[in-house]
């Protein structure tokens, strides 16, 4: 069992990991940048090591300092959290080579899933429905045109190393394709130093639905139902809920089985997410996030499973505490991401509370939010017996939330939760864009 864990991350996810570790009796050491010396995780952890200056590439992405910090501070494991080095196979290898446990899947699994083309192939081989597209990468415009003809327009150009919408382009007819291909490939080259791109059928306004998975090193792979992350602003998730308003029990079972089959096939350990697009009742494999996700609390609250705990048990070589048969998706949960649009000192902070409200944040009055990192400052998650009750509770909780000294998206979250289209549950990933165009937010 892991005795002492270095957390190679910051903010709310570092706080989240510390909480479960404290309940498990695991000592925590937080690696932090000079910009985070006063941060809540640094204060909460049993120990802390400064690993570099504010810029992430010199601190939270500084593999040498992170691994050295783990070894010298007496840790026997490293948790990468979310983002930064969480899906970096090289980091995972260095951690293992230093004789430490990496809390995540095996490096070669991270590698494979990081390559969207290979990941898609693996899914196809297990006859998991995928979005029609080019057989692997497209080397040039000629190949691309051939592929596009067979798929049918509109098509979307994606980066093999992709993520976060970078290197993604929609093409409506052949005339655009050649140019777009160059742009996308160039963008991908810049973002991931890998210009490889491929083509897929472009699904108009689909739902984004993902399956939460936990697996151990003993062959147990369990899914915790789905999360609906259809409310997005330029590919950034803003609201996540479970269960999804559009997923039937049958579809849930099919998607769950597909996700489990895929990750069991890869010998996946720890927490991971299989992302699908859902359109007209059919689901299409999109990609796998080989890490715990920001929105994992939503699944924790509908299943009663502490996902970080299962992740740590799995990394320790222990068996999961649950089997598929034990998993009951009960009630409803929804998360609103609270993002900062300015840095600075927090002059007042009032957290919502009471029945059915969970708050995950690293804010406190007097904290100086640094301008260097991700803009997520809080996750407000509420539960309800059903979606209607849950959304009423979210509205109530948002109305209690006070953050002063920095600008946030609290007001726009209130508008989304109150929006009739969102309430109807009947919309696609284009929803938010449409609302913004109308000036609705």
């Amino acid at each position: 069992m892991i005795q002492s864990l270095l957390i190679a991350n910051r903010g709310e996810i570092a706080v989240r990991i510390i909480r479960t570790c404290r309940e498990m009796g695991i000592r925590t050491v937080v690696a932090y940048s000079q910009a985070d010396a006063d941060s809540l995780p640094v204060r909460m952890a049993d120990g802390h090591v400064c690993v570099g200056p504010a810029p992430a590439r010199e601190s939270y992405l500084n593999v040498r300092n992170l691994v050295t910090a783990a070894v010298l501070s007496g840790c026997d494991a490293v948790h990468p959290g979310v983002g930064f080095l969480a899906e970096n196979a090289g980091f995972a290898r260095d951690v293992k080579e230093a004789g430490l446990t990496f809390v995540g899947p095996e490096p070669q699994v991270i590698d494979l899933l990081g390559d969207k083309i290979r990941a898609k192939k693996s899914a196809q081989e297990l006859s998991i429905p995928v979005i029609p597209g080019s057989a692997g990468s497209v080397a040039d415009a000629r190949e691309a045109l051939k592929a596009a003809e067979s798929i049918g327009y509109p098509v979307i150009v994606k980066a093999a190393a992709g993520g976060g919408g970078k290197g993604m382009r929609i093409v409506h007819d052949a005339s655009e394709l050649a140019d777009v291909l160059l742009v996308a490939s160039h963008e991908a080259e810049k973002a991931f130093s890998d210009g490889t791109v491929y083509l897929e059928k472009y699904l108009e306004n689909p739902r984004h639905v993902e399956i939460q998975i936990v697996g151990d090193s003993r062959g147990n792979v369990v899914h915790l139902g789905e999360r609906d992350c259809t409310v997005q602003q330029n590919h950034q998730k803003l609201i996540e809920e479970s269960p999804s308003p559009v997923v039937t029990p049958e579809l849930r079972a099919r998607m769950g089985e597909d996700a489990v089959r895929l990750l069991r096939g890869l010998g996946y350990t720890g927490a991971g997410t299989v992302e699908f697009l859902v359109k007209d009742g059919a689901h299409y494999f999109m990609e796998v996030n080989a890490r715990v996700q920001v929105e994992h609390p939503v699944s924790e609250l509908v299943t009663g499973v502490d996902i970080i705990r299962q992740q740590i048990l799995a990394a320790s070589g222990e068996a999961l505490e649950i089997r598929q048969g034990d998993v009951k998706v009960g009630g409803y949960a929804v998360e609103c991401r609270i993002n900062a649009s300015s840095a600075g000192r927090v002059t007042q902070f009032m957290s919502p509370g009471g029945y059915g409200v969970r708050m995950d944040t690293f804010l406190y009055v007097g904290y100086n939010v640094p301008p260097w990192y991700d803009h997520l400052v809080a996750k407000l998650i509420v539960t309800g017996q059903n979606r209607a009750e849950g959304l009423r509770r979210m509205q109530r909780a948002l109305s209690e939330l006070v953050i002063e000294g920095i600008r946030t998206n609290i007001e726009s979250q209130k508008k989304i939760i109150a929006h009739p289209v969102f309430r109807s549950g009947n919309y696609g990933t284009g929803f938010l864009g449409e609302v913004m165009k109308e000036g609705g937010l």
């Binding site: 002492s4 404290r22 000592r27 050491v29 000079q34 010396a37 006063d38 809540l40 204060r43 909460m44 952890a45 049993d46 120990g47 802390h48 090591v49 400064c50 690993v51 570099g52 200056p53 601190s59 040498r64 300092n65 691994v67 050295t68 910090a69 070894v71 010298l72 501070s73 007496g74 260095d94 230093a98 406190y364 009055v365 007097g366 904290y367």
Partner: protein, 150 residues
């Protein structure tokens, strides 16, 4: 100091990261303070319960001297590692307190991931104090030496 000078000082001070200014000149005194920049380590640490004592946990940031004399400066650790004062266990230290060291001469070794990184003086200096202990872990930014340029 004229009042308008005081106002200028106040404005500059507010923009600054400073928490306090004290200024004294032939009988004149000015002291400006900002509200405590809220540091609540204590309760959180207490809350954290007795942390497990672990050999090599960085005493660094905590124990390191906050400030140095006006005419001296710190040489800080540019990486996380183990601090060695000598090239080998049985060898004499590169430098001792009071030594004058020429630019380019070795000061210490920082070991990280089995690599011995030797660090040299970037200018001629006198070693005023050696702040890190041989064989101990240092964090990024931990003061290793207090030195005076010569």
């Amino acid at each position: 100091m004229e009042l308008k000078e005081l106002y200028a000082l106040m404005e500059r001070f507010e923009k600054s990261g400073l928490s306090e200014i004290f200024y004294k000149k032939d009988g004149e005194e000015v002291c400006l303070k900002k509200a405590a920049p809220v540091t609540y380590a204590a309760p959180m640490v207490a809350a954290a319960g007795a942390p497990v004592a672990v050999p090599g946990m960085p005493a660094a940031s905590a124990d390191a001297p906050a400030r140095h004399a006006a005419d001296t400066e710190f040489i800080r650790a540019p990486l996380v590692g183990t601090f060695y004062r000598a090239p080998a266990p049985d060898a004499p230290p590169f430098v001792e307190k009071g030594d004058t060291v020429k630019k380019g001469k070795p000061l210490c070794i920082l070991e990280a991931m089995k690599l011995m990184n030797e660090f040299q003086a970037e200018f001629d200096l006198e070693v005023v104090a050696i702040l890190a202990d041989n064989g101990n872990m240092v964090e990024f930014g931990t003061p290793l030496f207090e030195v005076r340029r010569v």
